[in-house]
Amino acid sequence: MKRGNEHIQAILQPLAAVLLGLLVGAAAMKLVDAPVLDTYIQLWNGAFGNLYFVSSTMARATPILLIALGVGFAFRAGVFNLGGEGQMVLGAVAAALTALYLPGNGMGKVLLAAVAGFTVGGGWSVFAGWMESRFKVQLIISTLLLNYIAVLFASYLVSKPFQDKTGSAALAQTKMLDPASRIPKLFTGMTVHGGFIVAIVLAILLFVLLRYSKTGYEVNMLGKNASFAEYGGVNRPKLLLLTMFVSGGLAGLAGSFEVLGSQYRFVDNALTVPGYAWTGVMAALLANSNPLGTVAASILLSALQTGAMGVERNTEVPLEIASVIQAVLILFISAKVSFSFIKSKKEGKSNGTSV
């Protein structure tokens, strides 16, 4: 009986949250004399209005989802990886340089570039994991700090040694990838690319891994009580490093896919300005680190952003109001979604170094 109730609540509460959020947003719009209904229609259209906008929403969801999967995976193991940004950027640089300077061509090279992005992102993240397990340097701070270093380093690489000198050379960016070393688009003329499918497949894989596999079990136990896991024979340092590798690797993959599938080069700041990393953290936490829930949360957050662009294009509502509505919606959803998980979250967050 109790469980049945919970299921209904789990569905009803986010709905109620969205409704309430929309109401508050409407109040905000009334305050500035914006047409409420029209704005919401444009918000919807901008995100899902036609196939093109759906595809843009999916394209934007791709890096968010990959980062969120990584954050969520580490969170399951009891550590808070806030280093998504740095891992993503380094992964993106690595993928770009591999695709540009590795001889050969075709899908094989794209694959290698993605692998390079994954490995470099994962490696950077493992560094934080290693400092944590070997020297007890708190991961939540070190990952945050490593972001700055990674972003600056990537910026250095593309403004000095690997800068594209072929065009106007005004931007810090690498050269353009040739068409053979790109991830194909899913539909011509649309932005969503093969990376989205990969991300969805990875989400399903992670779900299965966490739910049914031995490693998934160990990761979950490590997160819920590290001492218990260790006592049960789990190799804590090794598993932590593996988790961090996967976690950072997914962020690296997010960056790689942006390079290989969207921008076709690494552009300084192009990955940090949109705030993919923090959005990813939000998506993971909104979904309580459940990979399938993360898919939904990532698409939702992405839709809020693409929808806001639609509002910007088609109404006179200032862009800032769109971001206010976004924030309000997120606040309401966060309250409600986690409401049905109160118990697990409240008690679950205290392990490891998650503060």
Partner: protein, 306 residues
């Protein structure tokens, strides 16, 4: 080779450190009651904006600072209500608050001042600079320590006052207890939530003052996103300082000093992207010396109430 340090650099460092320190102390209070507040950036921004608005309407600097503190307290309470009352994840709420602060301040900048990007009025009075009577006479130290806005001195005083508050007063003692072990605090009948709200409000106040120092102390203007990541640096300072007022003071300084050095290194022929890494690299290095602290809390987390 030029000197790495000189009086003006150190003088500037004190000024640059103060908003970070204030916000980090705010972050510390949140951390002390078990909330990880990534919304510091937004809280400072709200404070910075409100200080200018307050000054614009009242032409009174004290009221302006109070207004900034009040506005940030409201935002902090929003953070508190969401995380404590509605059990929302604190990181999600923190990030959303950063969003909200950026959007709202930009929007209000347009509606109140009818400008985009920045509000600057050369006739607006900023916070006064205090020349400390005796101290300013001391060679070297005098020019470094003297001539700052009252809020700079307040920020250092705040670290010490908070130290006394936490470790000497009853309220502070109870706040610490709530942070150490919520289950135990609740079993004693301590008003856990009320205490959490006290800490959160105080943290909002500190962030508001940090914002005021930024927009009325360091400069006299508001520009969109003028916090430029100071909230996150404050977050790092909070954690590096082990959530201890004096530790936070020290770590904020470490950061300010290394940042100053990295600025100075710009005049050498090293790529600035690399010199700009210095504060972060050194902060990580500093963490090696503080490693392993706080690990003892692990056990309490596995406590059961039955």
């Amino acid at each position: 080779m030029e000197h790495l340090f000189d009086v003006s650099l150190l003088n500037a460092t004190l000024r640059m450190v103060s908003p970070i320190l204030l916000a980090a102390l705010g972050g510390m209070l949140c951390a002390r009651i078990g909330l990880f507040n990534v919304g510091l950036e937004g809280l400072i921004l709200v404070g910075a904006f409100s200080a200018i608005v307050g000054n614009y309407y009242t032409h009174n600097l004290i009221l302006a600072v109070l207004f900034a503190a009040g506005a940030s307290v409201l935002f902090a309470l929003l953070f508190g209500v969401m995380t404590i009352q509605f059990q929302a994840n604190e990181v999600v709420v923190g990030v959303a608050i950063n969003f909200l602060a950026l959007g709202l301040t930009t929007f209000l900048l347009r509606t109140i001042f009818h400008v985009k990007g920045a509000y600057y009025d050369k006739n607006m009075a900023g916070l006064p600079k205090w020349d400390l009577p005796l101290i300013s006479k001391i060679p070297v130290l005098g020019p470094i320590v003297s001539g700052h806005s009252p809020l700079v001195y307040l920020s250092f005083a705040a670290a010490i006052v908070l130290y006394i508050f936490l470790y000497r007063t009853v309220l502070g003692f109870r706040l610490l207890a709530v942070g150490y072990n919520k289950t135990a605090a609740r079993s004693l009948g301590l008003p856990v939530r009320r205490l959490q709200y006290v800490a959160i409000s105080l943290s909002g106040m500190l962030c508001g003052i940090a914002g005021a120092q930024l927009s009325l102390g360091q400069v006299t203007m508001f520009t969109e996103g003028m916090t430029s990541g100071r909230g996150f640096i404050a977050l790092v300072a909070t954690m590096l300082g082990q959530s201890h007022p004096l530790g936070v003071l020290a770590s904020s300084f470490l950061f300010g000093l290394t940042d100053a050095i990295s600025t100075r290194l710009q005049s050498f022929s090293v790529p600035t992207q690399l010199t700009a890494m210095l504060p972060y690299v050194l902060t990580i290095a500093a963490m090696f010396f503080l490693r392993g602290r706080g690990a003892e809390d692990d056990k309490a987390n596995q406590q059961s109430s039955r």
